[in-house]
Symmetry: C2
Subunit: 215 residues, 2 copies
């Protein structure tokens, strides 16, 4: 199947990585729509024209960063939700996992948080699609709990979105804590746990019939 990595492809992949890393690094202090192509190549140490060998655009590089940033998170969440079934344990584990992920990949999280509603349409779309997948995945996992018996897929979907939104906000709050703004890391974790607990309580008392009036 997969033939030799071919030393030339290897070098290409290496500078591609360098471009991605440099871009991500520069995004600590600005947003994607103001990130310059020359700025990136300068940081890497290659000529501006060489950029086009790897990406068509800066926003193209941005889209590539989305996958990279969110890809490895799926497994984290999956394990966070399946390893425990008891509420309190599960919440502790999940919040801890998010904190660990933020600590391990702060720039990726910052990138997603900034560009989720940022100025580059293609990137916004890519992030929205990825978060949608997360919501569906979470909904699927939560559907297996006994508590979810009889829930409509629509309600499960709503629950998944609530979880995902909450997780993104929490991750972003951890980030701010890590860099000194806002409340400290433990305070963020404390709040996040209580918020998840609140949702979890609501879930347990959810009645499956329609609760609110129609559109």
């Amino acid at each position: 199947m997969s033939t030799t990595p071919s030393q030339r492809d290897l070098q290409k992949a290496r500078t591609r990585r360098a471009l991605l890393d440099a871009g991500l690094g520069l995004l600590k202090e600005q947003s994607l729509s103001s990130l310059g192509l020359r700025e990136i190549t300068r940081a890497v140490g290659i000529s501006p024209a060489a950029f086009y060998r790897h990406f068509r655009d800066v926003s193209d590089l941005g889209v590539a960063l989305v996958e990279e940033s969110l890809g490895s998170l799926h497994e984290v969440i999956r394990s966070g939700l399946t390893e425990h079934t008891e509420d309190a344990e599960r919440i502790d584990h999940l919040v801890g996992a998010i904190a660990a992920y933020v600590r391990a990949h702060p720039e990726h999280i910052r990138f997603v948080a900034s560009e989720r509603h940022g100025g580059v349409a293609a990137v916004r779309t890519a992030i929205a699609a990825e978060l949608d997948r997360f919501a569906a995945e979470v909904a699927g996992l939560l559907a297996e709990d006994e508590v979810s018996r009889g829930w409509s897929t629509e309600d499960l979907r709503m629950l998944g979105e609530t979880y995902v939104d909450n997780m993104v906000m929490t991750a972003s709050a951890f980030l701010e804590a890590a860099q000194g703004d806002g409340p400290a890391s433990e305070a963020v974790a404390h709040t996040a746990r209580r918020q998840l607990h609140l949702i979890s309580l609501g879930r347990r008392h959810w009645t499956t019939s329609g609760q609110t009036s129609g559109a």
Copy 2:
């Protein structure tokens, strides 16, 4: 007290408005950190140098936009929470109020959503401060419900933050709906109502003693 508006101050205020409006308009398609000073003055029809008579920076203009965007929202929320006390009614009213606000001031909402985690530190800080005030305000209003009897101020605060986060997400979802991306407006409203109901249910069954382990 307030002396005459002094026709000259009046003209100054008028071009200041024009600058703010032009800036806000241009932010539909990009983010603040890439918004150029010349771009703004060009849209208004004045010379670049004239910009400095009103703002020191583009980010200075951004900070001014924050107040403007979020200032008028306080009253909306206050009335949305106080006019009804019954859960379902209150939720309907609140979601409706958010939808109306987004329809009335779409650019302002887009601005806040983009720049909340955007690249300009001063603006980020200003938005965070304003949203903090919202959370405190919501917490204060919810404290008056019978359901909140015995809640610690810390828990109330957490509840307020949950509400505010949810409202921001909802507003942003309405915005995407209005411009064709994502689900339609009624679907957003439907999801938002169910999410608020979920939180409301959790609130009703919240037990005042510590639920989760320490930090």
